[in-house]
Symmetry: C2
Subunit: 363 residues, 2 copies
């Protein structure tokens, strides 16, 4: 072969290889930019931070070919319009909590958390391996959405109260910042639920516009300074036993993704689900120590208040289920799962925690 001929054939070979390889690469790993709108502010480094980690992981694993830009609440749409923005395609996806949208349909809450629902590990197990995600996503098709669990706060606190609450009667007429189904449950036993944005809770408590307010737990609450304007910090937040934050993706946008990116969104959402819970679990203990050292009075809700709230919740669920087949379907499934969960939980987990709590002073 002449040298000139060799060079031309080698060139052809290289060009041929490029022609075969390039389209495959272009199809499977295209350059894509998405926008994600969050229901949360950047200041919540636990919640917002988990989705930041998610977006970072997606970008890293694709050498920045798939970039998801995360916008805080209010940057594109307000906090409680995140789901709509993903649903109507304004953005490709949202980080939000289903239970913010019970005004559309109370079924949304079951994907997140229900008063007296599952704890954090159980909610994850139900969604992941208990059939919960399939049911929730069937429901979300009505809103052009597919959702992936992407964080959990763990059991929250019952909130900040300016006065002690001992009897159910003490709740009568009490103006409390609490929303969604939890507000509906407490309304049945006398509470007057108030809608107050996170940024306005402090001023409302200070002025006495509200008598009580629930937010999240020690780490987040301390940052907003509630300990300065309310003395009593009640537990547990029985309406938030283990709320799941979801990534909700517009289905049409989802279907346009190559399989590699779909897989990566699932995997990185799972990572966020772990990260958010781990951060809360690591950051809450020092925060509650600081709060108690600063004078915050911890109080448990009395058994009478818990019992009255449980009855109110069960009454409410029966009323909703009677007229909403979607709700009934998901609720019945979750309740059956919960019964088995707590039957098992009390054996190993609870008895272990119980012993560890009792023996703590002995080191």
């Amino acid at each position: 072969m002449k040298r000139r001929q060799f060079i031309r054939m080698a060139g052809l070979g290289a060009a041929g290889a490029a022609t075969v390889a390039s389209p495959a690469i272009a199809q499977s790993m295209p350059e894509i930019r998405w926008r994600l709108t969050s229901s949360f502010p950047k200041s919540l480094d636990t919640i917002y931070g988990a989705t930041d980690l998610f977006a970072k992981a997606v970008a890293e694993a694709t050498d920045n070919k798939f970039q998801i830009q995360v916008f805080a609440a209010g940057e594109i749409v307000p906090a409680l319009q995140a789901l709509d923005a993903a649903s109507n395609g304004t953005v490709e996806m949202a980080q939000t909590a289903g239970y913010y949208y019970v005004g559309k349909d109370p079924t949304f809450a079951i994907g997140t958390s229900m008063p007296f629902g599952l704890n954090s590990r159980m909610q994850t197990a139900w969604l992941h391996s208990g059939g919960g995600a399939e049911l929730f996503n069937d429901f979300l098709k009505n809103y052009n959405l597919i959702a992936f669990a992407a964080g959990n706060t763990g059991c929250q606190m019952g909130g900040w109260f300016r006065k002690e609450i001992k009897e159910v009667a003490d709740l009568n007429g009490l103006k409390m910042r609490i929303g969604g189904i939890a507000g509906n449950v407490l309304a049945k036993i006398g509470v007057v639920p108030q809608q107050v944005g996170a940024g306005d809770i402090y001023a409302s408590l200070e002025k006495g516009t509200v008598d009580a307010a629930e937010f999240v737990g020690p780490y987040d609450d301390e940052k907003l300074g509630f300990q300065k304007v309310a003395k009593y910090y009640y537990y547990p937040g029985f309406w938030d036993g283990g709320p799941t934050i979801h990534h909700m993706v517009n289905i049409a946008k989802w279907e346009q993704l190559p399989p590699a990116y779909k897989s990566l969104i699932k995997t990185a959402s799972s990572m966020a689900n772990e990260a958010m819970q781990a951060r809360y679990d690591a950051f809450n203990p020092p925060a509650i120590k600081r709060l108690v050292a600063g004078g915050t009075q911890l109080r448990a809700f009395s058994p009478a208040i818990l019992d009255a709230s449980l009855k109110a919740a069960n009454d409410l669920y029966a009323e909703i289920a009677a007229k909403n087949p979607n709700f009934k379907k998901l609720y019945d499934h979750m309740v059956a799962f919960r019964a088995d969960q707590y039957a098992w939980w009390q054996v190993a987990e609870f008895s272990y925690d119980n012993y560890m709590i009792r023996s703590r002073p002995r080191g």
Copy 2:
């Protein structure tokens, strides 16, 4: 421009583009095949299955460019040589539990689980956001390894006993299949620990070669049929409050990976960490129902046995810490973390679970 000249230049352009683009692609997303050896058999779909999901996720997100082939225990090396195989580069990585290697150094156990250590969420929080992973990985450098949490079983059961164990004295001379530090702890209060491979536990219990055996929990134990040869099923497995299974990667192989693949291994290990716990949480409840329906007798370890075991554990830890600075460093860190964890855990989480367990019969 003449047609011939144009074609040549276009060809050059394409070749040029390929020349520029290909090396970049080759560097960032090269074709890589790794082998992962597991300490677990395929039959444990919970544990082994989580790493299967991990490998699948890595392959999917890279369009099969990065393939990690998972080998069950014994296929490349025996179960308890998985760490050595990753350490010496026989394989690139392993799925294993640090506490299998306490013969090398008891410090290994702190990355997994210690008797009276952290529960599942706490262990994840310690490793993820509490400084635990950094300490564990500092230690693992001595073995050419870097580790990523990749699964947790939750609190395990205390195992199967052929006779009831009521007093500490009942443990005297009891031959029990239990290993590692847990075996050392129980030996201090009379148990005679036995090394028995998972596949031989059933026969050993049946023949009476051992009087008791611990394995994992209802879902895994039921598959091995222990309920047919031992009547009493004790709880909690206080030596396995929340053991973390790790992916352990040979550091030299790790350093050769492009950043995208490093990031993906971390992200997909987190996914496995979530998946294993979710599967155990979903699958254990039906299993314990079946076991109890079939005649298995559930028994709680008595407070006296727990107290004697706690004292034995603390004595053992003091002995090890006195002569092993690595152990002391990680142990002291974990113990400080644990104290804050349980101080907080008893507030919201435990009181919520407590109410949910108490109110269960009322629906």
